[in-house]
């Protein structure tokens, strides 16, 4: 019963900022799972698959930044706490990667890294050369990235979420806060344009 008063995030944050230890314990219990999945998710976006001990180490870092570093006081909007926490956890995970590896190696996975895993059958010109050739594929992924960069922002974002992050139209609509039909038309228009651009390149 005593714990229930912390169910409300704004009260929970306020109590934590005021150094209430029982609030902090509740916070850790409530959000540890989210932190771990955020770390893993964000690292995957950079092409890394963390082991359990790395996950725990990063989680410890996050906890100390939030509590000892007083980062929790930066939360502006308690209703978006879970997203804030996820973004912050991800940032700390990327920092962790940067310290482990040389910084320039740490970059988000780009289209050229995953170009084979994407279904681009409708984008490629029918005269495409043998797709098994490495050189062709590298050239193609470069062209694809150039073509994507030339799209207008909304279409670019929609197609990146679609191809790079594997998001369905409904999820794209949810992330971009636009109607589903609009998201679909963004993706479709972007695909048509890419198809045309890639054809012109050849």
């Amino acid at each position: 019963m005593e714990k229930c008063r912390f169910e409300d995030d704004s009260f929970l944050i306020r109590s934590c900022v005021e150094r209430d230890e029982s609030a902090w314990d509740f916070f850790i219990k409530k959000y540890s799972g989210l932190m771990l999945s955020s770390i893993a998710c964000r690292m995957r976006k950079y092409g890394f698959y963390p082991q359990a001990d790395d996950l725990q180490e990063i989680r410890q870092q996050i906890l100390s930044v939030l509590w000892e570093g007083g980062k929790l006081s930066e939360v502006k909007n308690p209703s978006s706490l879970k997203y804030w926490l996820s973004v912050v956890s991800g940032n700390i995970a990327v920092e962790f990667l940067r310290k482990r590896r040389r910084a320039h190696e740490i970059a988000p996975v780009s289209l050229s890294d995953i170009v084979e895993g994407i279904d681009m059958s409708d984008l490629l010109p029918s005269t495409a050369a043998d797709p098994a050739r490495e050189a062709d594929r590298t050239a193609l992924s470069e062209k694809l990235e150039d073509a994507i960069e030339s799209l207008p922002p909304n279409e670019k974002l929609a197609i990146k979420l679609n191809l790079l992050h594997g998001k369905k139209h409904e999820e794209i609509a949810c992330i971009m806060a636009i109607p589903r039909a609009t998201a679909t038309s963004h993706v479709r228009r972007a695909r048509l344009k890419l198809k045309k651009l890639l054809r012109d390149y050849r």
């Binding site: 989210l34 998710c41 092409g47 082991q51 978006s80 988000p108 895993g117 922002p153 992330i175 806060a177």
Partner: protein, 149 residues
Amino acid sequence: MVPKIEKNGRHPTDNELADFLAKSLSGPEMARVRAHISGCDHCLAAVAAAYESAGPAERKGSFKKWIGNIMKKMNLYLIMAAISFILSFLVGRYFIQLLVATLLLGIKWVVDSKTTKMLVMIYEAWKSGGEREASMVLRRMERRDRITL
């Protein structure tokens, strides 16, 4: 986190990204973040990862997903091979036929597995382009496969 200012303006703060995902920014602010993440892969990765780990739970198609996950984990051919192996004892009349089916399905399972595919890919590359090509394929696999710390 990434200090340099990019061509599409300053990076949104953690609070702005969170409010963007919670849809609690004002209209122009939403548009600004949208424009920024369309061109900044770091912030886009942050948004996509936060959406995946903290976003709304999937409502529809969860059963389909569940079945799909099971099928991904357990290989279809392996299951079929096991079934026909068991059947070969239960249905005495078709003992040999079912054993042959088990063998064929087993071979299909081995050939279909990821390791075998990888070996074939490397061999093909080596045959067509020598060592350079083969090492390229290997490097690509390394990158795509799990890069652990």
